[in-house]
């Protein structure tokens, strides 16, 4: 919808659309929501009717009729009459002229001054910004209503002056709400481009900045108008402002309160119309806010985010008891060992499929995954981003990301079936049996909690260790991940750690309860190169010392080769090759594995173009029935597209250490030398 959603610099420097275009987007956003549209119409009707009161009202506002005082609604008086028998509807219309006028004055003053000050503060920056923000901070702490009452007591009969003062008191929040989006837009490239091209600042403000803040300003306008109406009505209720017999909504509430015991209509209608106008302003404001967010970031509204969170919650609930077992190709598990092995191996994953979306209509992102991890074995899971490797790893913990769910297949851990465990049972399993190290070490830590406190909580979640012992165990764990001074680190907050330190804390946390399997999902991707090596060394050391099994998820062959004995390659939601790392690297059998190895930066000749696999990974839901790599494969044959491809042993099945590939031409390709000119350094004792 705008430049912000583009990824290339060319898109970013493009002008994202003028004021007119922005307003059109916002208007569409409001009109598309039924509630906001109705609110807008109601507002328009009320404003027009009040302005046209002399034409619309059936009676003059001060036309008394004592014979008909305090009547309920009737054909003659649609909303009844007051103590003097005056027609309530007519008085509401005339009163609305006054009340809405004063609300408009307040809003106009607040917006005119607030937008000008907010724009200048953010755009000009420096001393101007500091000065304006200091005044704003002071202004925010002024108790509005009391100061307005002071003004009213000074200018006894000049309600308008008090309303202008009220408008000025509403400038500070307006400045804040305008300044923030301008600050955001100021840093964007298209503004720089405009500045470099020599446009004068005021032209840049009007042509480029104002469209961007049109949404927030309009939202603020609805908010300020609503508050202004409420406050001016409140003051009129207290007896300030236009005096009887001239009606205002506030004075009508006041007289309604006097006759409340005998007739509630007057109070209900006068308060009701104020509430109605405010609700409508609120609904329009909400719609504008959502439309603004969508217009500029392509992001979804908070409501849509809530909807997504709800469906994710439902999906999690459904995920515990897989309802449907999706057909998942013929996963004839020749040599994965999974077929015969429920009961053999530490972790057994059988025919696992993972999908997203409404139950029954899921789009699969992983299908027919079969594999086994033995106790104390280090296994790599390799693939490009989006191949489904993280989903598979997280499914083991019952934590499929972003609203996905296990739609078929089973997972066994130490002879216990863990798919279908209850939430509570699953919590007892996670952390205790399987540890987890994620990709973003910083994001994985609760920013408000000390490292030591967090580790102790993790320990005590699975044991009744007394406080003292738990604290000792924390220090021991921090020592195990090579912190020379565990006590100091335990006292630190996450923001006081470096990325490498945070990742070591994450590892300490994952091994805290002596898990039998450690899952590390791209544990070094977010780290500096020299830190990467240390983290990998630590993982390997701990895996061997503690005798844990390790599932290492990575896109990087170098990482896998340093730590793992065996590896599995994943492509488009499917395992396509698995076997000992040495064999995979030296004699890759699947064309995808070969291509992947050829694309390693370290394999490229200096100065030569980095090879890339032509074409694109098919998106979930568009997988072909035949080989999923077929479209991009150099070795493709007509047979490849005919149907699902099953596992073929690569080389002699007695000697190959379980090397197998999901390719019809496995036996030919496995004999041909690999494409890797620079050998991947394989070795766990390097």
């Amino acid at each position: 919808m705008s430049g912000a959603s583009g990824s290339s610099a060319a898109v970013m420097t493009a002008h994202p659309g003028g004021l007119r275009r922005t307003l059109r987007v916002l208007a569409t956003g409001v009109v598309k929501r039924p509630a906001a549209l109705v609110a807008l119409i109601v507002l328009a009707v009320i404003v027009v009717a009040c302005v046209a009161a002399p034409l619309v009202a059936t009676q003059a506002p001060d036309q008394a009729n004592f014979a008909a005082s305090l009547q309920g609604p009737s054909m003659a008086h649609w909303l009844g009459t007051d103590q003097l028998g005056r027609d309530t509807l007519s008085r509401l219309l005339y009163g609305g002229q006054v009340s809405l006028f004063y609300a408009a004055v307040v809003a106009a003053v607040a917006l005119a001054v607030g937008v000008a000050a907010g724009l200048s503060a953010a755009y000009l920056g420096g001393a101007v910004d500091r000065g304006i923000m200091m005044i704003t901070d002071i202004g925010l702490a002024i108790p509005v209503l009391v100061v307005v009452i002071v003004v009213l007591s000074v200018f006894q009969h000049l309600f308008l002056v008090a309303m202008i003062a009220l408008g000025l008191l509403m400038v500070p929040p307006t400045v804040r709400n305008v300044r923030a989006p301008v600050l955001a837009v100021r840093g964007e490239l298209f503004i720089d481009a405009a500045r470099v091209s020599g446009l004068p600042p005021y032209r840049i403000m009007i042509r480029h900045v104002l469209p961007r803040v049109a949404g927030p300003v309009l939202v603020q306008a609805t908010l300020v108008s609503a508050m202004a109406l409420q406050l001016s009505v409140g003051l009129a209720y207290l007896g300030f402002g236009p005096q009887p017999p001239n009606p205002t909504w506030g004075s009508m509430i006041s007289s309604g309160a006097q006759v409340l015991a005998s007739n509630g209509w007057l109070l209900l209608t006068s308060g009701g119309v104020v509430a109605l106008v405010t609700v409508c302003l609120g609904l329009v404001g909400d719609a504008l806010r959502d439309a603004t967010v969508q217009a500029w970031t392509g992001d979804v509204s908070s409501a849509a985010r809530r909807r997504r969170a709800r469906s994710a919650r439902r999906a999690r609930a459904a995920g515990r008891t897989p309802a449907s077992r999706a057909a998942s190709g013929t996963a004839a598990a020749i040599s994965t060992g999974a077929g015969e092995a429920a009961g053999k191996g530490l972790l057994v994953v059988k025919d696992l499929s993972i999908g997203f979306g409404e139950p029954g209509r899921e789009v699969l992102t992983v299908s027919g995954a079969d594999f086994v991890i033995e106790a104390a074995e280090a296994v790599g899971l390799v693939g490009e981003s989006g191949s489904g490797k993280t989903s598979v790893a997280r499914a083991i913990l019952g934590l499929v990301p972003d609203g996905g769910q296990v739609t078929g297949g089973d997972i066994w851990f130490a002879d216990q079936k863990i798919t279908g465990l209850s939430g509570r049972q699953m919590a007892g399993f996670r952390g205790r049996q399987v540890g987890w190290v994620g990709q973003e070490p910083m994001a994985a830590l609760d920013p408000t909690m000390r490292v030591g406190t967090l580790l102790r909580e993790v320990i005590q979640a699975h044991s009744d260790l007394p406080r003292k012992q738990a604290r000792d165990r924390v220090l021991e764990l921090l020592n195990m991940v090579h912190f020379p001074d565990p006590a100091t680190v335990a006292q630190r907050y996450p923001h006081q750690l470096s990325g490498g330190m945070a990742q070591r804390v994450a590892i300490a946390r994952a091994i805290a309860n002596g898990p039998r399997l450690l899952i590390a999902d791209e544990p070094t991707t977010a780290l500096d190169v020299n830190v990467q090596a240390r983290i990998l060394g630590l993982l390997r050391e701990l895996q061997q010392e503690l005798g844990m099994a390790l599932l290492l998820v990575s896109h990087d062959w170098g990482v896998i080769a340093q730590v793992c004995q065996r590896a599995m390659v994943m492509y488009a939601g499917q395992l396509v090759e698995h076997g000992p790392v040495e064999r995979l690297v030296a004699t890759p059998a699947h064309p995808y594995t070969r291509a992947l190895l050829a694309c390693r930066p370290s394999a490229a000749a200096a100065g030569a173009r980095l090879p890339a696999i032509p074409g694109q990974v098919p998106a979930p839901g568009t997988w072909p029935t035949g080989c999923r790599f077929g479209d991009r494969c150099q070795h493709v044959t007509p047979a490849c597209g005919a149907g699902p491809v099953s596992w073929e042993p690569a080389g002699s099945s007695l000697m190959n250490g379980g090397h197998a590939s999901r390719c019809l031409r496995t036996s030919e390709l496995a004999k041909a030398p690999g494409t890797a000119d620079t050998p991947v350094k394989v070795g766990r004792d390097a």
Binding site: P143, I149, V150, S153, G234, I253, R306, M449
Partner: protein, 313 residues
């Protein structure tokens, strides 16, 4: 942390100066001056002029302000123009009423708002939509109007609670509470729904963050994750809105104390404005500003306690 608090307090000094100067200059602009208010409209011009000299009203504004300020710093806020009582004593007698209202109002709206917001975030669906609708309604219905309706329903139609008035807490705590129920309900409605909404949005955002997944992977019980980690992180923006709603409620006492005929600062502001008692009004503005400053300071300290990152800056 302490430096932050000190900086905040220092910022409060210009605030109090600016606001008191502003009100002082404003009130000196008033067409009828203090001497006329005291002597009434039938006084001879000579009598007014002599009282004006006596009160120092012939001095320039800044001299008058300096006089007022130097006395105010010692706690002397002057003498009421209508009751001839010391403003300081009058206001300190009324302060407990207003503080009872806003403090109980803040506690009630925060406790209920946070619980409702939590339920809405974790359960979603109907509860969430109901809270949305309630928040919109709470924001839209004028709070003094809500008070009037509540009085009619619960005090006049059903004699469940007293309609108007106030009893000191030291006199009778139970009666104090009974008299507070309706005004607090009136005052807290806006804040309650607003805080519920803020809590819900904030908690949903936090529960989607990576560290929550990491805690789930640790096998920590879900209720513990929500209460110990989710809520604490979600509380950071909630504290801000509690501060904002507190200031809103303080202003709201002007209306609510008038509706419920309570002898607090808000109703005093209204009657002083109507009788032209500018000295008292000036004192009320200063007291309100001090309350706001104290609350903002508490909010900052709470921030520091909740978020270790805020402690350094």
């Amino acid at each position: 942390m302490i430096r932050l608090a000190i900086r905040r307090l220092l910022l409060a000094v210009p605030l109090l100066l600016v606001v008191s100067l502003l009100t002082y200059v404003l009130t000196s602009l008033a067409p009828g001056n203090a001497a006329e208010t005291i002597l009434g409209s039938s006084a001879t011009p000579a009598a007014v002029a002599s009282l004006e000299r006596q009160l120092g009203l012939t001095d320039p504004v800044w001299v008058q302000y300096w006089h007022w300020l130097s006395k105010a710093l010692t706690g002397n806020l002057g003498t009421s123009l209508t009751s001839y009582q010391a403003v300081g004593a009058e206001l300190s007698a009324r302060l407990p009423v207003t503080l009872s209202l806003v403090i109980v109002g803040t506690l009630v709206s925060t406790a209920l708002g946070v619980s409702l917001g939590m339920v809405s975030a974790l359960r979603g669906g109907v509860v969430g939509r109901a809270i949305d609708a309630l928040a919109m309604l709470g924001f839209s219905v004028p709070n003094f109007w809500l008070g009037l309706v509540l009085v009619d329903l619960l005090a006049v139609k059903v004699h469940l609670l007293p309609a108007t008035g106030y009893v000191n807490i030291s006199q009778n705590p139970l009666e104090w509470a009974r008299f507070l129920v309706l005004p607090v309900a009136t005052l807290a409605a806006v804040g309650l729904t607003g805080i519920a909404k803020q809590t819900r949005d904030s908690l949903l955002e936090v529960m989607g963050r990576e560290f929550i997944t990491a805690l789930r992977a640790d096998g920590i019980a879900e209720w513990r994750i929500v209460l110990r980690h989710g809520l604490r992180n979600a509380a950071i923006p909630v504290v801000t809105s509690v501060g904002v709603f507190f200031i809103g409620m303080l202003g709201g006492t002007v209306l609510v104390e008038s509706v419920f005929v309570m002898p607090g600062l808000g109703s005093e502001a209204v009657s002083s404005a109507q009788s032209g008692d500018l000295t008292t009004l000036q004192g009320i503005v200063v007291v309100f500003c001090i309350i706001v400053v104290v609350v903002n300071l508490l909010v900052d300290l709470l921030y520091g306690w909740l978020d270790p990152r805020a402690r350094v800056s």
